[in-house]
Assembly symmetry: C2
Homo-oligomer: 162 residues x 2
């Protein structure tokens, strides 16, 4: 990373940290924010809004991805960089893979989030366990019809892949 690149990344990350701190009172949510940047311009800023909107999926990165995709009219973040005040939790990490930005930068870690009372590290640990060993029980029932939706999907000539 060149010094110029690092300075640019730090500037956007500091903006994400400022937004995270401001969001606690401004958006009545957890202390997290994320910025999505394309060609040097901020496309969207996402604030945690779990408790203010009764939406457990309203983490900063998810909110930012949704807003950026709306702004861009696309379901992919081609050529975008994501700046998150904190290491994305597994939900947000998964969301970032589906959104396919160019790169992700973050400041605080999952351990910092855990120290502030958030479950991020716990969820990472749970993901690594076999479904039957998890605190939240995941049970697969083997049904003969399970693959029918996939078969119908693959037979549909007009399907849009993502």
């Amino acid at each position: 990373m060149t010094a110029g690149d690092r300075a640019r990344h730090e500037r956007f990350l500091l903006a994400a940290i400022d937004a995270a701190a401001a969001g606690i009172t401004k958006h009545n949510g957890g202390p997290f924010a994320a910025l999505i940047v394309r060609d040097g311009a901020v496309v969207a800023t996402g604030f945690n809004a779990v408790t203010s909107t009764n939406d457990p999926t309203a983490h900063a990165e998810i909110q930012a991805i949704r807003a950026a995709c709306r702004a861009l009219g696309a379901f992919q973040l081609d050529g975008c960089d994501v700046y998150s005040s904190c290491e994305p939790c597994p939900m947000c990490l998964g969301a970032l893979y589906w959104a396919r930005p160019r790169a992700v930068y973050f400041a605080a870690t999952r351990a910092d989030a855990a120290a502030a009372g958030f479950d991020d590290a716990f969820v990472y640990d749970e993901l690594a366990r076999a479904p039957a060993q998890r605190a939240l029980p995941f049970t697969r029932l083997d049904l003969p019809d399970a693959n029918r939706p996939f078969k119908e999907w693959l037979a549909l000539p007009t399907r849009v892949r993502y």
Copy 2:
């Protein structure tokens, strides 16, 4: 699991599979659906709507969680069971941890999804890698301000934990 419990779970899972197949054309999305059930009644049904709504986070489970939380006026799925036509991807698995239902049941597997062209298994593999080894680069920049949002959060007496 008693035979009666299994029959009940199978009934809701079959409904999720039917919804997944119907959703391909009805909701113009991927072949996935999820039901959220409380006290034997369906609280919400979620359909994949990634391409129809330009929202890469609009997976069936996320849509179902958001709709159920709206219906229940809560950011937790206390006492709810989730029935997903397919094993939740890491994003949805993380979302389920944050939503905290009682249990999750699914039919098809991540391997079935991969065979139909979806990245679920790939994202699971990526999650297990160190950030620097991932296909999507995650970079932490160590900034002195990184923990400021958490400090301000912990100092706020009115904060709502989630």
